[in-house]
Amino acid sequence: MLADVRVQSKTAASVASAEPQVGPAAPIKGRSLWRDAGARFVRNKAALVSVIVLFAVVLFTFVGPFFSAWSIEKIDWSIIGMVAQKGGPSIATGHFFGADEVGRDLFSRVIQGTQISLAVGILGSAIAVVVGTLYGAVAGYFGGRLDSAMMRFVDIIYSIPFLFVLILLLIMFGRSFVVLFMGIGLISWLGMARVVRGQTLTLKNREFVEAAIATGVKPLAVVFRHVVPNLLGIVVVYATLLIPEIILLESFISFLGLGIQEPNTSLGALISEGAQTMQYGELWQIGFPLGFFVVILFSFFFAGDGLRDALDPKDR
C-alpha cells in the first residue's frame, strides 16, 4: 500500500510542481527526474489537454448532482410510456440528458456510471500497481530459482483466458463490487509484474544497489527502499495505460449483463441499455454514455502516451 500512496503523491506533485516552471520568472532549482518529466509532459499538448479533460470530467461528476433536478432512482411518471416523444434531452423538464426507458433521469445516471467506471479503473489499476510491483521486484531482484518459479507461475496464469474465469467468479459468488474488483485485480497485476521484473533486472546491477548492499542493508530493504522507488516511472506509465483497459474490461462485462447490477450502473451498462432502446429512436440513451466513454478512454490513452514520452527518455 505504501508504494501505491507514494506513486500517487509523487505523480500529483510532479504534475503540479511542473507548472510554475513554465513561467519566465521561475527561480533556478535543481532538476530532478520528476521535475524534468513534468516539464516534458506539460510541453506535450495532447497529453496536457487530456489531463485537463479528465479533471473536468471528474469535477463534473462531483458538481453535476447539485444541478440535476432528478435523483438517480426517482421515476418521472409523467413521461413513462412516451419516453421516445417526451423523454428527450431538454432543460424545461430537468432531464438535461433525457430520460431512460423506465423514466429515470439520464443526467444523474450518466454521472453515477462515469463515477463507477472511473472508480473501477483506478482501483483495479491500483491493485495491479501494488501486487505487480512487489511481485515483479522480488522475482527480479532475487533471481535464480525463485525467479523462474514465480515467472513460470505468471506465464501459466497469463495464458488462461481470464475473462471467462472472471465471468465464472461473478456468477458463482454474486455480481458484487468486491468480486468484480478482486477478479479484475487478479488479472491485471500479471502484465505489471512482467514489466517490473524486466526493469528490476537492469537496475539490480547498478552501483547504487551495490553500494546499498555493501553498507549492509538487508536484501528486502534494498528491494523496497532502493529498487522500487526507481521503478516508479515505468509503473506510473503502465498504471495510466492500464486504467482505460480495465474500464473497457468492466464495460464489456457490464454490456453482457454480468457486471455492475441495478440500482448501480456503469458506462458499459448504460451503453448496453441504450443499444437496446436505440431502435425506438431514443438515441440520447446511447449517445451520452457513449460520448463520456469515448472521451475518457481517449484522454487516458493520450495521457498515458504523454507520460511515457516524459518518463522514458530512451524513446525520444
Binding site: 488462461i160 483466458p161 474465469v165 465464472l168 458463482m172 464489456f252 454490456f255
Partner: protein
C-alpha cells in the same frame, strides 16, 4: 524446432489442466447448488437428482471423472438446466455458427488490415495513409460492443440494408455485420502494425539496393519488402485470435446468432453450471491452442528466433 514445440506443449497442457481444475473447484466452492431454487425439494428427491448427476460422490472423484470424460471421450456431461440435452449438444449447435463468422472475421482483419497498412506505408502522407491512421485511432476507443449497436443503427434502422440480428443458416446478409463488428478493432491494429513495420523496412539498405538496381516499384514491395514487414503482424495474430474468441461473446449476444457466446451468457444468467464450465473450458482450450499455433508459426517464419 521439435524441441521448441515440445517446450511450448509442456506449458500449454498444464495450463489447460489448471484451467479445468480451477473452474471445477470454483463451481464446487460456490455457495448454493444449481438445484436449490425457489422450491424446496424434499430430501429424497434432491438425493436422487444428485445421484443422477453424480454429485453424491466425493469431490475429487467427480473432478477425476470430469477431466477423464473430457480428455478421453470429449464428453462435457449433461446440462443442469436443459434435461433433454447435454453440454455437447449445446456446443455442437452453437459452435459452427461462431466458427463461421469468426473465420471470415479473421480473414477480413488479416487481408484488409495488411493491405491497408502496406498501401498507407507505400503512399505515405496520401489520403490512404490518413484514412488508415484515422481508422487506427478510432478503433482504439470503439470496442466491438460499441461498434455493434452503431452498425445496427446505420445499416438496419436508417438504411434498411441488412437484418439486425439472427442467423438464417448463415446467409451472407446475416453474416456481414457480425464479421465487421468482430474484425474492426483487429483490422485497425493490424493496419497500424503493418504500416509502421513497412515504413521501417522501406527505409532499410536492402530496399535502397533493390531500387538502385532498377527493379520496378511493385516488385520491390512484393518481393523484397513484404515478407520482413509482415513478421510483426504474425506475432500479433495470437492476441487477435484470443480477442476474437472473447469478442464473439458480444457479437453472438448482440446479433442473436445462436452461437456459442449466446449460450455462454444465457447459461451464466441461468446458473447452468455444467454448461458454463463446458463452454469456458472449450473456449479456453481454443485460446491456448491458438496461442500455441501462432508461436510455432512465428518461430517457423522468423529465422532469427532460436530456442
Amino acid at each position: 524446432m521439435i524441441v521448441f514445440i515440445l517446450k511450448r506443449l509442456a506449458i500449454a497442457i498444464p495450463t489447460l489442466l489448471v484451467l479445468i481444475v480451477m473452474s471445477f473447484i470454483l463451481m464446487k466452492i460456490a455457495p448454493g447448488s444449481p438445484f436449490t431454487g425457489e422450491k424446496n425439494l424434499p430430501r429424497d428427491v434432491l438425493a436422487n437428482i444428485y445421484a443422477r448427476y453424480g454429485l453424491d460422490k466425493p469431490w475429487w472423484q467427480q473432478l477425476a471423472e470430469y477431466v477423464w470424460n473430457i480428455v478421453a471421450h470429449f464428453d462435457f456431461g449433461p446440462s443442469f438446466k436443459y434435461k433433454d440435452r447435454s453440454v455437447n449438444d449445446i456446443i455442437a449447435q452453437g459452435f459452427p455458427v461462431t466458427l463461421t463468422y469468426g473465420f471470415w472475421a479473421f480473414i477480413v482483419a488479416g487481408v484488409v488490415g495488411i493491405g491497408l497498412g502496406v498501401v498507407a506505408a507505400v503512399k505515405q502522407n496520401s489520403w490512404v495513409d490518413y484514412l488508415a491512421v484515422g481508422i487506427t485511432i478510432g478503433a482504439q476507443v470503439v470496442p466491438n460492443f460499441v461498434l455493434a449497436p452503431i452498425l445496427v443503427l446505420i445499416f438496419t434502422l436508417w438504411l434498411h440494408w441488412l437484418p439486425g440480428g439472427g442467423w438464417n443458416d448463415g446467409r451472407w446478409n446475416y453474416v456481414v455485420m457480425p464479421v465487421i463488428a468482430l474484425s474492426a478493432t483487429y483490422l485497425a491494429n493490424i493496419a497500424r502494425i503493418a504500416r509502421s513495420s513497412m515504413l521501417e523496412v522501406l527505409n532499410s539498405n536492402f530496399i535502397r539496393t533493390a531500387r538502385a538496381k532498377g527493379l520496378p516499384g511493385y516488385q520491390v514491395i512484393l518481393k523484397h519488402a513484404l515478407k520482413p514487414a509482415l513478421l510483426p503482424v504474425v506475432s500479433y495474430l495470437g492476441p487477435v485470435f484470443v480477442g476474437m474468441i472473447t469478442g464473439s461473446v458480444v457479437v453472438d449476444l448482440y446479433f442473436s446468432t445462436g452461437g456459442i457466446g449466446q449460450w455462454f451468457v444465457n447459461s451464466a444468467l441461468n446458473r447452468d453450471y455444467s454448461t458454463i464450465l463446458g463452454v469456458t473450458i472449450l473456449l479456453g482450450a481454443l485460446t491456448i491452442a491458438g496461442n500455441l499455433v501462432v508461436d510455432v508459426l512465428y518461430a517457423w517464419i522468423d529465422p532469427k528466433i532460436r530456442y
